[in-house]
């Protein structure tokens, strides 16, 4: 399998704090890869470096073999990376379908003049955009909700919409930042199925930040564990679960010495 994204010695500092320290991660194509770690371990900071919202101070991020360093976020999205947010960030005062259409916009080309004059090209594009967005709503299970204001959706549906919006950009790599946060067990199980479907049906590679161990252990091919900005372990879910460094990071130093084996 080929490597889709590789981070090499990525370092991000905020003043005196090193949020991400010489991180090396390789994401295999068509895999589900999780990043876990205690709060403040630098997981979301790493996401922000990959998507261009932060400029990392050192190191490089390669996507399909090309460096992304210094690119604007919109450019990186067009290269094929999409993301969702830890705290859902929808375009609240736009309808559900419009949210998806915004995600779809980078596939459209018509501009100011096309819009004002309603050229044939623009009309066809709009029609296509609506159709594609409808399909996407169907895919994420929001058919029939398209004309709702997105802020009026229930919580679980907002998560789905956020993923649908990200998918509308047709990414090769999807970054999900704690998608199971605030979900009950049934919703969590649905989400796991959904993530697997993404890979199976759309062939998308998924990078996941998650605290929900059931999700991480249930669907990940590979798990990277971070603590204090550094990678402390990496491996299959089973390997990571038994790694003393990981147990230490989560439960404190005493845990490995005195805890049950």
């Amino acid at each position: 399998m080929a490597t889709l994204l590789s981070a090499r010695d990525v370092t991000k500092r905020f003043g005196g704090l090193t949020a991400v320290n010489k991180l090396n991660v390789e994401i295999e194509e068509n895999s589900i890869h999780s990043i876990i770690g205690p709060n403040g371990a630098g997981k979301t900071t790493f996401f922000n470096c990959v998507t261009g919202f932060y400029r990392h101070d050192e190191g490089t991020v390669l996507f399909k073999g090309e460096p992304l360093d210094g690119m604007q976020p919109d450019r990186i999205t067009r290269e094929g990376i999409a993301r969702t947010y830890q705290n859902i960030r929808l375009f609240q005062n736009m309808t559900v379908i419009e949210n998806v259409m915004v995600g779809y916009q980078s596939h459209l080309t018509s501009g100011w003049i096309g819009a004002v004059l309603h050229t044939r090209k623009q009309r066809e594009e709009e029609k296509l955009a609506v159709e594609e967005a409808r399909k996407m709503l169907g895919f994420v299970g929001l058919a029939g909700r398209g004309d709702w204001m997105s802020k009026n959706l229930p919580y679980g549906d907002q998560r789905r919409l956020e993923i649908g919006r990200a998918l509308a950009t047709s990414p090769d790599l999807l970054l999900l930042d704690e998608p199971a946060a605030g979900m009950n067990p049934a919703e969590t199980a649905d989400l796991m199925e959904f993530i697997k479907r993404l890979r199976a049906e759309l062939g998308i590679t998924i990078l996941l930040i998650e605290h929900h161990m059931q999700v991480v252990m249930g669907i990940s091919d590979l798990v990277t564990v971070m603590d204090f900005g550094e990678k402390i372990a990496e491996g299959t879910p089973r390997e990571v679960q038994n790694d003393p460094h990981v147990i230490e990071a989560y439960l404190g130093r005493g845990a490995t010495e005195h805890g049950p084996a």
């Binding site: 919202f53 993301r83 419009e98």
Partner: protein, 544 residues
């Protein structure tokens, strides 16, 4: 039971006290006195009295509404009536105390509007003490009357309310336009009845009628829609028949509609708070002046309105894009301050001695010709009105088309969450500059028309207040809403233009209206509506 669900007899008292203070305030700033001879109903009711009645109405209704505690089902009519009566009485007591004090001490040294005429009005011309008793009785009567309104079923309440508002509005408009002395009593009653019945019927039959039209075949629906548009168009085209002064008001309103439509793109769609919008208006006006005024000798071309117009629009557009570049990374309040500065810079440059040889400094530029077309001079407001209407129609067309396009959605996404918008692949630089440039172009168009309407321009016409006015227009109308801009301009520019003798209170009313709107209807008079795209058949624009 939580606290807010308890009822206290102090509530109507405090509500009445606030009402009394408001009424007193209106008296002391002179609104009541200024309108002694301005009749709403000829010989019966003056504008000032209407203002006082409105205070009674607003606060009595408020008190009566509070008589039914929140989360409580029980509605006690007696308590509602009593609350209303108490509030009304308290308002009257405040006014009565004021009259009594005024009789003893001469307040005019401080409050120049505390005149005998005012006391006379408040005591119904009966003097102290009889008038005081009448005033108190009047307060109780008003309290009970308006509280009864609260008790009525909703449909009836609404139609009576609208009827009561329609009479003074129509009367004031009529008097201003035709130098009338208010509506005669039978006419006023007729207006009240027509408005009330119309609203009642509208509420009752609007939905079924709408449903029926929606079930019509799409061809018929289309012709119906075209018919409505033609009727509306004819109405708009017929407006100048009202005469010269009304047309003048319409032209000014139209110029604000034009600016509002432009600013609505920047603030309403893209969420970029621009307080220096007047700059582009000024640039449009100055370019028009430089191109057309024979006074400007250094500029090689002296041409007509129509040739200068595209240059005015393009220059403003360019200026919009140029202003956009330094503020690309600014958000919210920072952006507001920088654009504010830009607006002032343009005005100060126009005023400066430095450019005085070129654009006249504080003397401005005069002798700007009126537009002509096909040998026809647009030399009076009635004719100019049509140019403004054409401008507004083009602007509204562009704004609508852009709103429901990829660009419009991108703008709204930027308004909602700039970071996420960028993460959706939206090029912020390009999209923001397009918003600034489009808005500026429409402002430039408005400025160009403004210049040739006045035939002379001065830097002081382009002050911060214009930017604030336009912003107020779109906020009151409903941010992002195109019909809202028109309603907002009529309400905040057209109406005050008609109420000339209240000109000095214009900002006072502005402030009050804005505060009220932000508290009670933050989404504006005609809020932005989103088009249904999923379940509804495709909108006519997208379908075809």
């Amino acid at each position: 039971m939580n606290q807010s669900s308890k009822f206290s007899w102090m509530t109507p008292v405090t509500t009445g006290l606030i009402g009394g203070i408001v009424a007193l305030f209106l008296c002391l700033v002179g609104i009541v006195e200024a309108s002694l001879n301005r009749f709403v109903i000829t010989g019966i009711l003056t504008t000032g009295q209407v203002f006082l009645l409105a205070v009674y109405a607003i606060f009595v209704v408020q008190a009566a509404n509070k008589a039914t505690p929140r989360f409580s089902e029980e509605r006690s009519p007696l308590r509602i009536l009593a609350s209303g009566a108490i509030a009304g009485l308290i308002i009257s007591i405040v006014l009565a105390v004021f009259v009594l004090i005024g009789q003893q001490i001469d307040l005019r040294g401080v409050f120049i509007h505390a005149t005998p005429a005012l006391y006379d009005l408040l005591t119904f011309g009966l003097g102290v003490p009889q008038g005081i008793f009448v005033l108190l009785g009047f307060g109780i009567l008003m309290g009970i009357l308006f509280a009864v309104l609260v008790l009525l079923p909703k449909a009836l309440r609404k139609s009576i309310g609208v009827g009561l508002i329609a009479v003074p509005l129509l009367s004031v408009t009529y008097s201003a336009l035709f130098a009338g002395r208010g509506l005669r009593l039978p006419v006023a009653i007729a207006v009240f009845l027509i408005a009330a019945v119309a609203i009642y019927l509208w509420d009752r039959y609007e939905k079924p009628v709408r449903k029926r039209t929606q079930s019509l075949p799409s061809g018929q629906q289309r012709s119906l829609r075209i018919g409505v548009w033609i009727l509306a168009g004819l109405f708009v085209l017929a407006l100048p028949l009202l005469g010269s002064y009304p047309s003048e008001v319409l032209v000014i309103t139209g110029i604000f509609v034009l600016m509002g439509l432009g600013l609505n793109i920047v603030v309403g769609y893209a969420g970029l708070l621009d307080l220096g919008y007047v700059a582009f208006f000024a640039i449009g006006a100055y370019v028009m002046a430089i191109f057309t005024s024979p006074e400007i000798t250094w500029f090689p071309i002296t041409t007509s309105f129509w040739i200068a117009l595209p240059f005015a629009v393009l220059t403003a557009m360019l200026a919009g894009a140029i202003l956009g570049i330094p503020v690309l990374n600014m958000r919210g309040d920072y952006l507001a301050i920088v654009t504010l500065g830009f607006g002032e810079i343009i005005r100060l440059i126009a005023l400066s001695d430095w450019l005085k040889p070129l654009i006249g400094g504080s003397n401005g530029i005069t002798q700007i010709p009126k537009p002509t077309a096909f040998g026809l001079a647009f030399d009076n407001p009635q004719k100019l009105y049509y140019i403004v209407v054409i401008g507004c129609v083009i602007a509204a067309f562009i704004a609508t088309r852009l709103k429901y396009s990829r660009l419009g959605r991108n703008w709204m996404a930027i308004r909602e969450d700039e970071d996420v918008a960028q993460a959706m692949g939206i090029d912020l630089v390009r999209n923001k500059l397009l918003a600034f440039a489009t808005g500026a172009a429409l402002s430039g168009l408005a400025g160009a028309i403004f210049a040739s309407k006045l035939t002379s321009i001065y830097p002081h016409s382009f002050n911060l207040l214009v930017s604030i006015n336009v912003l107020a227009v779109i906020i009151v109308g409903g941010l992002g809403s195109i019909p809202g801009v028109i309603i907002g301009a009529v309400a905040l520019v057209g109406l005050p233009e008609l109420l000339r003798e209240f000109a000095e209170y214009r900002l006072l009313v502005y402030g009050a209206v804005l505060v009220f709107m932000m508290l009670r209807r933050p989404e504006g008079l005609l809020p932005e509506a989103r088009r249904k795209l999923e379940l509804h058949e495709m909108s006519p624009d997208v379908a075809e």
